[in-house]
């Protein structure tokens, strides 16, 4: 994928997620608790990693193609895998000692994504500079 489509697609999805988070839930599901709000919240969790994808797309947009390509090779694997993992995780952990739930999976997936992305981008950028 090229830089621009990547930036555009992730940007649009991020915008939708942010709008949904702030106002969409109340508009679609109403005030107060509802299964609708819970479900929508879970779906936003699943896609939330796209927001970081957009940020890195933005960062790499002004960098060399090699940097973007190196990062995107990782991203195109990591992002779908993370989304599947978040989707599969339960909303509420049943084990309080080792709580595996959407929130914790989301946290770990995003932390790893950001860390690995930074390393890849820095490495690719450094290599490009040396060349």
């Amino acid at each position: 994928m090229k830089k621009k489509p990547s930036l555009l697609i992730s940007g649009v999805i991020s915008a939708i997620l942010i709008v949904l988070s702030y106002v969409g839930i109340f508009k679609l599901c109403g005030i107060g608790y509802s299964q609708c709000a819970d479900t929508l919240d879970d779906w936003i969790s699943v896609f939330s990693i796209i927001i970081f994808t957009f940020l890195f797309s933005l960062i790499t947009y002004w960098m060399k193609n090699e940097v973007f390509t190196a990062w995107f090779r990782f991203t195109r694997v990591w992002v779908p895998l993370s989304m599947v993992a978040i989707f599969l995780a339960p909303s509420y952990a049943s084990d309080w000692m080792f709580p595996i739930e959407k929130g914790t999976v989301l946290f770990i997936a995003n932390i790893l994504f950001v860390s690995i992305s930074l390393i890849i981008i820095a490495r690719a950028w450094w290599r490009g500079r040396r060349v």
Binding site: C29, S34, Q35, S91, A93, S94, D95, W96, F98, G103
Partner: protein, 859 residues
């Protein structure tokens, strides 16, 4: 021979021990310079009240009413023949020429004998009189011998030394006048105190939190509920602050707040009191000896005259600025706190000023049923490697704590939803236990019954619980469930709401020839404790924590904690901590200052009923339990005894606000002649969605009006008017139009007055079958939201008694309505229930189950 031998021994002893004394004893009157007596009072370990030495003629400032150890001694420290002393308050004469009198305060022992404790009752003059044993003089041996052989001793051979007295003045330590906030005693929940045992090769082994199934097995109890190992202990202050490895906070933020309050000087001290949560409440409060920082509730070290929790409470009260303690209790800690207050009896008002219960399962909670029978959600570690469900339920089956948490008999008087449902596919089970369990007798029969139970590790099949422990738990609840906060002790109850995984019951059904157990859920709880149990005590001031809102992704991101909060870590909700902080510091801020905290059920945000009355009539609201909201006739003040209801009056206009879904009836009584206008509106957020208005209805001082609502505005009855107060409703105004439609006589027989003097409409409400609302939710194609409301009608009386409503949220593919009639005791329950086919198509759950079983078999 034997008697003679003893006599000889005794005589010998007398001679030997009397010789030195005889040699030094002074026959003459006491020496001119006697060692002076001093009284020492206070805590030797430096805690307040600090130890002071009281001598003759001194003036001392002490806290009144605070008990502390005391002893008397002599300045030369030699005379041990003074065996006791009597402390008295000197009461000045009431008349100028009268004599002062003495009021006995306490006996005080000397240092080398057992210590005693006493509290100064008031300021004033005191006198301590030390009393000596009769001292044997030189003629001691012959006198004893004379005594031995039956002769009366010579009077001049025994010389009691004269009593020695000191007189001093006690003043009260100046009372705290500003920011006199109470110290805090924190009682954690179940499984929230760490437990240890000595290590096999020295050191110690932490059993809780467990690292392996073996750790949990070390915690097993005998069938009588006694610990098998007698060397298990907890440690002072060692409650679960955060979990190791995963680093998840349990009480860390809360304890951090307490530390901050202490370091800022707002409170003098606080203590998080760990206890052996496996045991009965009696054992927890009767035992607990602290030795070198370890607290023993089992084994030979547990016996003590000052049980740890009691001792800590007294210590905190003694050092508190207010002289009292605020108890904050989470979960099972609330049951301990309730029992603790009963232990102190009348003294409790002097020790405790308020109690804050956070998510306390006061009348038990349905979650305990699958937890005890199946180990439901009690396993730890991936695939139960650390603790398997089978181990967990075996542990729970002999632990009194698990039985305390089962729904009590009183629970079923308030919550009608069955805690066990048995599907038609299990006819033999139904024959044994009935179709549903919604009484304690049925629950006891079910959990202790033999039929269908297993002794194997098959967690899909329930195990059998112990009948004796069930009975003991119910005996405990018989007193705890009618507990009211002691006089002078404020009670705040906080319930977590909005976790849709809160178990409200279990359903058994046959599936492919095997018994299958599924949990039924409600959103009306914090994931473990259902709201009615958390807000059980009637006198308490109730608050809800909206966990559904707190757990929204946006709020989790804002709080930098992506995990969803539930029962275990509800004390990690920051606004709740703010609220508790402010309560401790007696700051009264509007509840809107605390996000997610409300004084009414968060579910009511969607719909509320709003009544207004412009008229010369009183306006009162009653629920099915007879609780009242309105102006109390006895005090003339507004009372709001029904949770989620408010009464406001502006001029002659009265307003009532009620959560939609709360069954209630409105009663109005005329006090002047004129007309009234009564308006009912259903409000969604700030918008009135539906309304009814009854305008310009004539009224007199004899007029009585009644209006019933079983859930929302569409369930409202017509307006019934008894114009002349004779107990018969002569006029009806239709709720559909607000118009007077037909002047009807509803009752064939005279209407019996109700408890509040109001006539009860003989509206023989049909056996309710109350509408089941099935609402398809936008944006969730495969999800249906099911709300059930169940009502019980007695066959003998005509009064409808709607029961507590639990909103049920289930994931369903299809739902079928059916009507089930069950006879319970003397009542016929007509329940319109939604039976939901819970899909078993969740292949991921199947994979998880398969992997779990696989790992169980491997490990």
């Amino acid at each position: 021979m034997k008697i003679r031998g003893e006599v000889v021994t005794f005589l010998f002893a007398c001679v030997v021990f009397s010789l030195p004394l005889s040699a030094t004893a002074d026959i003459s009157p006491p020496p001119p310079s006697l060692p002076s007596v001093s009284l020492t009072w206070g805590n030797a370990d430096g805690t307040a009240p600090a130890q002071i030495q009281i001598v003759d003629g001194g003036v001392y400032e002490v806290p009144l009413g605070v008990s502390a150890p005391a002893f008397f001694s002599f300045d030369d420290g030699t005379d041990s023949t003074y065996v006791s002393s009597s402390l008295s308050r000197v009461v000045p004469p009431s008349e100028p020429d009268g004599q002062e009198t003495r009021e006995f305060v306490a006996f005080v022992a000397p240092l080398e004998r057992s210590r005693t404790s006493f509290a100064w009752p008031s300021a004033g003059e005191y006198e301590l009189t030390a009393i000596q044993l009769p001292v044997f003089q030189e003629s001691r041996v012959p006198s004893l011998f004379a005594l031995l052989i039956g002769e009366v001793a010579h009077a001049d051979s025994l010389f009691p030394a004269p009593p020695r007295k000191i007189r001093f003045t006690i003043r009260e330590v100046p009372r705290c006048t500003q920011d006199c906030f109470s110290n805090v005693l924190f009682l954690p929940g179940i499984e929230s105190s760490r437990l240890y045992r000595p290590g096999d090769e020295g050191g110690e082994d932490k059993l809780w939190e467990p690292n392996t199934n073996a750790d949990v097995r070390d915690l097993f109890l005998t069938p009588a509920g006694e610990s098998i190992r007698n060397d298990i202990y907890t440690k002072e202050g060692d409650v679960l602050d955060e979990l190791p490895i995963v680093g998840i906070n349990v009480y860390k933020s809360f304890l951090g707040r307490m530390d901050a309050l202490k370091s800022s000087g707002a409170i003098v001290d606080y203590e998080a009191v760990p206890y052996d949560w496996r045991l009965s409440l009696d054992d927890i409060l009767q035992y607990g000896q602290a030795i070198d920082g370890k607290v023993y509730y089992v084994g030979e070290n547990r016996a003590t005259s000052t049980p740890y929790i009691v001792q800590e409470l007294r210590r905190l009260a003694a050092t508190s600025k207010s002289g009292k303690v605020t108890i904050i209790a989470h979960s099972n800690g609330g049951l301990v706190a309730k029992q603790l207050t009963q232990l102190f009896g009348d003294e409790v008002g002097g020790l405790i000023d308020s109690m804050i219960f956070v998510a306390v399962p006061q009348a038990g909670t349905p979650m305990a049923i699958p937890a005890a029978l199946h180990g439901y959600e009690q396993d730890h570690g991936p695939f139960g490697i650390v603790t398997s469900e089978a181990t967990a339920r075996a542990f729970a089956s002999t632990s009194p704590m698990a039985y305390h948490l089962l729904p009590s008999a009183q629970y079923f008087t308030y919550v009608d939803d069955p805690v066990v449902n048995i599907d038609d596919s299990l006819p033999e089970w139904q024959a044994q236990y009935g179709e549903t369990v919604h009484s304690h007798e049925r629950l006891q029969q079910f959990v202790t019954g033999v039929y269908g139970k297993t002794e194997s590790d098959d967690i899909d099949v329930p195990i059998r619980l112990d009948a004796e422990l069930m009975t003991r738990a119910q005996t405990l609840h018989d007193s705890l469930d009618v507990w009211t906060s002691p006089q002078g002790v404020e009670l705040i109850q906080i319930a977590g709401w909005g976790v849709p995984k809160t178990v409200k019951g279990v359903t058994y059904k046959a599936h492919e020839g095997e018994v299958q157990t599924t949990a039924d859920f409600t959103v009306d709880g914090d994931g473990t404790v259902v709201v009615p149990s958390a807000l059980w005590t009637r006198e308490g001031k109730n608050y809800w924590v909206d966990l559904a809102e707190r757990n929204r992704l946006l709020n989790r991101v804002e709080n930098l904690n992506l995990r969803k909060i539930k029962h275990m870590d509800v004390l990690e909700v920051e606004p709740l901590l703010d609220f508790i902080d402010d309560s401790l510091q007696q700051k009264q801020l509007p509840i809107s200052n605390y996000p997610f905290i409300s004084e009414y059920s968060p579910s009511s945000i969607e719909k509320r009923l709003h009544y207004s009355l412009h008229s010369p009539l009183t306006l009162d609201l009653y629920d099915e339990h007879g609780n009242h909201t309105g102006v109390a006739t006895s005090t003339g003040r507004v009372e709001e005894n029904i949770p989620g209801t408010y009464f406001v009056q502006f001029g002659d206009t009265k307003y009532l606000f009620v959560d939609s879904g709360v069954p209630h009836h409105i009663v109005m009584s005329g006090y002047d002649t004129g007309t009234f206008t009564f308006e009912v509106g259903e409000v969604l957020g700030d918008t009135t969605t539906h309304s009814i208005a009854f305008r310009d209805v004539p009224t007199t001082p004899q007029t009585k009006v009644r209006f019933d609502v079983s859930s929302d505005i569409f369930s409202a009855s017509d307006l019934l008017i008894d114009e002349d107060g004779d107990g018969t409703f002569e006029t009806t105004y239709a709720s559909s139009t607000g118009e007077r439609v037909v002047p009807v006589v509803v009752a064939d027989e005279p209407v019996a007055p109700s408890g509040n003097g109001m006539p009860v409409a003989n509206t023989t409400t049909p056996e309710v079958p109350i509408p089941v609302t099935i609402q398809t939710v936008l944006g969730a194609a495969t999800t249906t939201e099911v709300a059930t409301t169940t009502y019980a009608t007695t066959t003998s009386a005509e009064k409808v008694i709607p029961k507590q409503k639990l909103v049920v949220k289930k994931q369903v593919f299809r739902s079928v309505q059916k009507e089930a009639t069950t006879t319970i005791e003397n009542a016929t329950l007509v329940a319109s229930v939604a039976s939901a086919e819970i899909p078993h198509t969740d292949f991921l759950a199947r994979i998880r189950g398969f992997l779990k079983k696989f790992f169980h078999s491997v490990f």
